[in-house]
């Protein structure tokens, strides 16, 4: 039993009363008007900012670190050195004798920004209980669960996220990166690489129910996993068992996860994943467990879907914000399918979409869809980038109309909506299916502001000579700021952004691995939290439930 009686406001005690393992230092009272024991004080307290209960969670982290190691996480000979360490340094790893889960809890408590720590004392408690129960289970060698539930990725550089920050989530064929900026979107800190060597085809941000969760799929020799982080990349889930798995009767094995979609705000435990081989999975418990959506899997068309160049994949999920039971999926090469009953039954919705590679050019299904976009303000209307062909539907995908006049090529991969203008869409044409690079070596984004009646090239700041770039289907996105930002990454690892709706562009990063996914996040700490929601339970606790037998 450990009773902690004093977190922040400790009086100076005679050093002789402490042994070498537990030390205290002179108080700040000697140096300034700030009160407290320096070594336990949170960065925001030292900066003179408002302290709250999360400053106490920092102090808890210091005490835990000290309890398991006998030394302080932030040390120094003078008050200045200690303050400097608290503000800037990362605590030294605790070594293999400390359970990784406990180390993850301590690191989370010792995050420099309050928003990166546990947001409630109960979360820290649940995480510690999960570590304790894992330790109990792992003493039984016959049912050893000793594998890590969470992985702290050493060697990755981390970003320090504050409320109001703006993030880019970037998935590449060799790992993920997190980029941090603010509403100005002028300077960027780069975190990562996370999961270096693993292909990260899908990322998503889930800010529902007051959480800050980032999802990522990772694919490697060792299989494909869905993982998440609640602390902006410092620790990631590392499930013992893959949570997305084809049932035995299907005879199929998961190859990759191409899309992660969050359900409506009022159903914060609902998530979808689109996978390869083409199928849809659904979670109704916040991503702990997943089930195959049988209604689509057992569709009579499925045996006749054919793989595209990237495999037979379900890569696009579009939810109708006004009708929660309506959803669209895009399959290569299967086409567009729609459900009106939450996934029980599905219909092919490809009338008017060409399939250049088929003997009949307008089949019922089998089209190679590349991406579908919808504006939440006009959910009956959809835009579609096809394998050859740009289309719009004004009637929930019942009929599609060609809008590919005015672009140098109607072959391309992404199609991205402007966040507020439902008539405004962005695409990046490539020359052909044989030569999937920017037309004429000129990297041009095309924009329509009239629903596809006409298109304009956006080139200012983009390379216009020898730029044989390809922008893949999920490697382009928009943010929700004003003016809207548009971002895209290329197969050659260049990341471009515009913070004026596409008028001018800037290269944000160069030299990344092939970029396959980009998402944006505005970090908002002020939203109300659903304390009664099961989502409010600690991430660590939920993981341990998942992995314990």
């Amino acid at each position: 039993m450990i009773k902690v009686l004093d977190f922040g406001l400790a009086r100076h005690a005679d050093a002789a009363t402490f042994d070498g393992a537990t030390r205290s230092f002179g108080t700040m009272e000697q140096m300034s008007s700030v009160s407290g024991t320096l070594a336990y004080m949170a960065p925001e307290v030292l900066r003179g900012e408002a302290a709250d209960y999360r400053s106490d969670l920092w102090a808890l982290g210091v005490v835990l670190y000290e309890a398991v190691s006998g030394r302080l996480p932030f040390d120094g000979r003078t008050g200045f050195e200690i303050s400097s360490a608290i503000l800037r340094e990362v605590p030294k790893p605790l070594g293999s004798s400390v359970p990784p889960g406990l180390w993850a809890v301590i690191q989370k408590c010792l995050a420099k920004e309050p928003i990166q720590r546990y947001q409630r004392a109960g979360e820290a408690q649940a995480a510690l209980e999960a570590v304790q129960s894992a330790a109990i289970v792992s003493t039984d060698r016959a049912t050893d669960q000793s594998g890590p539930r969470q992985t702290v990725l050493l060697g990755a550089r981390h970003i320090h996220v504050k409320s109001g920050d703006f993030l880019l989530l970037v998935g590449t064929t060799k790992g993920a990166f997190l980029l941090r900026s603010n509403a100005q979107r002028a300077r960027w800190d780069v975190g990562g690489p996370y999961f270096h060597g693993h292909a990260v085809y899908a990322m998503a941000y889930d800010g529902r129910a007051g959480q800050h969760r980032i999802w990522a799929s990772t694919q490697s020799y060792w299989g494909t996993l869905l993982r998440s982080t609640d602390d902006f990349g410092r620790s990631w889930t590392n499930p013992q068992e893959a949570t997305i798995r084809f049932p035995a009767d299907t005879g199929l094995s998961l190859k990759n996860i191409w899309q992660i979609a969050t359900g409506p705000a009022d159903e914060p435990d609902l998530l979808y994943c689109g996978v390869e081989p083409a199928a849809l999975f659904e979670s109704r418990d916040g991503g702990d467990t997943w089930t195959l959506v049988r209604g689509l899997f057992e569709h009579p068309h499925r045996p006749r879907w054919m793989p595209g160049n990237g495999g037979l994949t379900l890569h696009t999920i579009v939810l109708d914000p006004t009708e929660p039971r309506r959803m669209y999926v895009g399959i290569s090469a299967g086409g567009v399918y729609r459900t009106e009953d939450g996934g029980r039954t599905w219909t092919a919705q490809n009338r008017g979409i060409r399939a250049m590679f088929m003997p009949g050019k307008y089949p019922e299904f089998g089209q190679c869809i590349h991406k579908i976009a919808m504006h939440p303000a006009r959910p009956e209307r959809l835009f579609l980038q096809n394998h050859w062909g740009l289309y719009r539907s004004d009637d929930r995908a019942e009929n599609w109309k060609d809008i590919g006049t005015g672009v140098p090529s109607d072959f391309g991969f992404p199609v991205v909506m402007h966040p507020t203008n439902p008539d405004c869409v962005y695409v990046v044409p490539v020359e052909s299916d044989q030569f999937r690079c920017a037309c004429d070596g000129r990297l041009r984004v095309y924009r329509t502001r009239n629903g596809g009646a006409s298109w304009e090239a956006l080139t200012r700041g983009l390379p216009q000579d020898g730029a044989y770039e390809t922008v893949l289907r999920d490697a382009m996105t928009a943010d929700a700021l004003k003016p809207a930002g548009i971002y895209f990454g290329t197969r050659n690892g260049q990341l471009f952004g515009s913070r004026d709706e596409g008028k001018t562009w800037r290269r944000i990063l160069d030299g990344l691995p092939a970029i396959v996914c980009i998402r944006t996040v505005v970090v908002d700490a002020d939203r109300p939290r659903a304390a009664s929601s099961p989502r409010a339970r600690s991430h660590a606790s939920r993981k341990s439930r998942r992995t314990r037998k």
């Binding site: 049912t143 669960q145 000793s146 060792w222 798995r245 084809f246 199929l252 094995s253």
Partner: protein
């Protein structure tokens, strides 16, 4: 008592074996499937890294009994003699 069967665990998977590079199987498996089953009873996190959800060895994972690739000795039905050393090795494919 016969000599135990020993698995050699690659570095990337030792996070699931408490850091151990070798794991000895207590009972006497007769096939590779038996031996693997015993391995992931001990360390469940290994299973989904080595095998697909359909129980097949992952495409880019090679398993050797002694110095022989199990692809040529019967796959999961390969016989495992007492004292065998089984190596799990990721392939050299990739870009």
């Amino acid at each position: 008592m016969s000599a135990p069967v020993t698995f050699h665990i690659p570095g990337a998977l030792r996070q699931f074996t408490r850091g151990q590079g070798t794991v000895a199987i207590g009972h006497s498996p007769t096939t590779l499937a038996d031996a693997l089953s015993a391995l992931w009873t001990l360390y469940p996190g290994l299973r989904d890294r080595i095998a697909t959800e359909q129980g097949e060895i992952r495409e880019h994972i090679n398993i050797f009994i002694g110095e022989e690739h199990v692809r040529y000795t019967g796959g999961l039905m390969s016989p495992v003699a007492a004292g065998s050393e089984i190596s799990i090795v990721p392939a050299i494919s990739g870009g």
